[in-house]
């Protein structure tokens, strides 16, 4: 092949490569960001189905989450479809809270919030993938359709004196596989 042709094809190839890279990135970027978070969770010792409770409000030292809020405490967990349904037990909490369920594309699959809970009582919810998997339990629940799901809990802090109280709530939140829950009950 002539040198001029090689140069021309190489430049064309470079541009085609850049285009291909952009297309790949557009499709997979949200998933890459989620994978990074899963790696960080694992590095910090949290497996699938375990909570990582952030016990302090975000400040300028927090660099993992872009534009973090400073009015809620976060609790984060990842769950896998292959582990089957989970039971989520939430102690009574008199302020705003939400658990958002996101897939790898960062689509919100649904929420469990203070509006779903009975006030001033402990609440139990079920997280499932298929109605056939769950026994005849009367819990409110959320149905997921994702292999991996990111759960982000947010708990409102009205004033800094409440942080310890909310930390205790976070520690009391229970995420347990349904089969283990049924064995225990």
């Amino acid at each position: 092949m002539k040198t001029e042709l090689v140069i021309a094809f190489s430049l064309f190839s470079l541009i085609a490569g850049i285009s291909a890279g952009i297309i790949i990135s557009v499709i997979y970027y949200p998933g890459w960001e989620i994978s990074k978070l899963i790696k960080i969770q694992k590095k910090e010792g949290f497996s699938f189905g375990e909570w990582n409770h952030l016990k302090n409000l975000a400040d300028h030292h927090l660099r993992v989450i872009v534009k973090p809020n400073c009015e809620t405490l976060y609790s984060i967990s990842f769950i896998q479809k292959k582990d089957g349904p989970y039971v989520l037990k939430m102690p009574a909490f008199d302020s705003y809270f939400s658990f958002a369920f996101l897939n790898r594309n960062t689509d919100v699959l649904g929420y469990i919030t203070n509006r779903d809970a009975i006030e001033n009582k402990d609440n139990t919810f079920i997280i499932y993938y298929n109605e056939k998997e769950i026994p005849d339990v009367k819990f409110r629940g959320i149905k997921l359709n994702s292999k991996i799901c990111w759960i982000i809990g947010r708990f409102e802090i009205k004033r800094s004196e409440e942080i310890q109280k909310v930390n205790n709530i976070q520690d009391a939140i229970c995420l347990i596989k349904l089969k283990d829950y049924l064995n225990d009950n």
């Binding site: 092949m1 042709l5 090689v6 094809f9 190489s10 430049l11 190839s13 470079l14 541009i15 085609a16 490569g17 850049i18 285009s19 291909a20 890279g21 952009i22 790949i24 990135s25 557009v26 499709i27 970027y29 949200p30 960001e33 989620i34 978070l37 975000a58 400040d59 300028h60 927090l62 660099r63 989450i65 872009v66 534009k67 973090p68 809020n69 400073c70 009015e71 302020s95 705003y96 939400s98 958002a100 996101l102 594309n105 960062t106 689509d107 919100v108 929420y111 919030t113 203070n114 509006r115 990111w150 982000i152 409102e156 009205k158």
Partner: protein, 201 residues
Amino acid sequence: MIAYGIILIFFIIGTGISIRYFGNLLDFLIENVSGNGIKNGPWKTHPGVGRKQTSRIEKAAIARIGLGANDSEETIYWNASVDNDGNDLRSENEYNIIFRSKPSVKYNEKGFWSITIYGNDKFLVPNPYNKYMLRHDENSKPGEDFQYSIFLSGNKPENPANWIPLPEDDERFSIAFRCYVPDDEMKTNAINNKLPSIIKV
């Protein structure tokens, strides 16, 4: 054979470069392309956050600047990087954020709102007071005439109750106005909702 190898290497280099710097490309697009966002005065929001039907490129942009954000059913995130006159927000200046009506959230369902300052890098700004935001005033009841203003400056004012510090060095900054549990007016008519003004002092 060598020629084909060279062409392939250029393809791989091109792919690698664009994947490596895709985040920077997203930053550029976020700054310069409005996409399907909603604009209301100096504030912008994106109704597609967290939605399955949102385009791939917008999802990538959201993952870049708002990973894990709630969708607009739960929280509406308004962001401003300019004041009401359209000038960049800069920390060498002082600003008032003036509310003339109570933000449209469902207070009876524990909805609330907050104002937070972020540096040019989109992270919280170090300051000696560890103060980054102000939130919903518990004492103002829904339905009351609502007058509220928040002062932004680098120097601590005499009355710091409604004050949020700005970055000490002169830099661009942005303001996030979060509305948790927005009401139907905010969700369905965000473009006409009465949002606070950002006025340079």
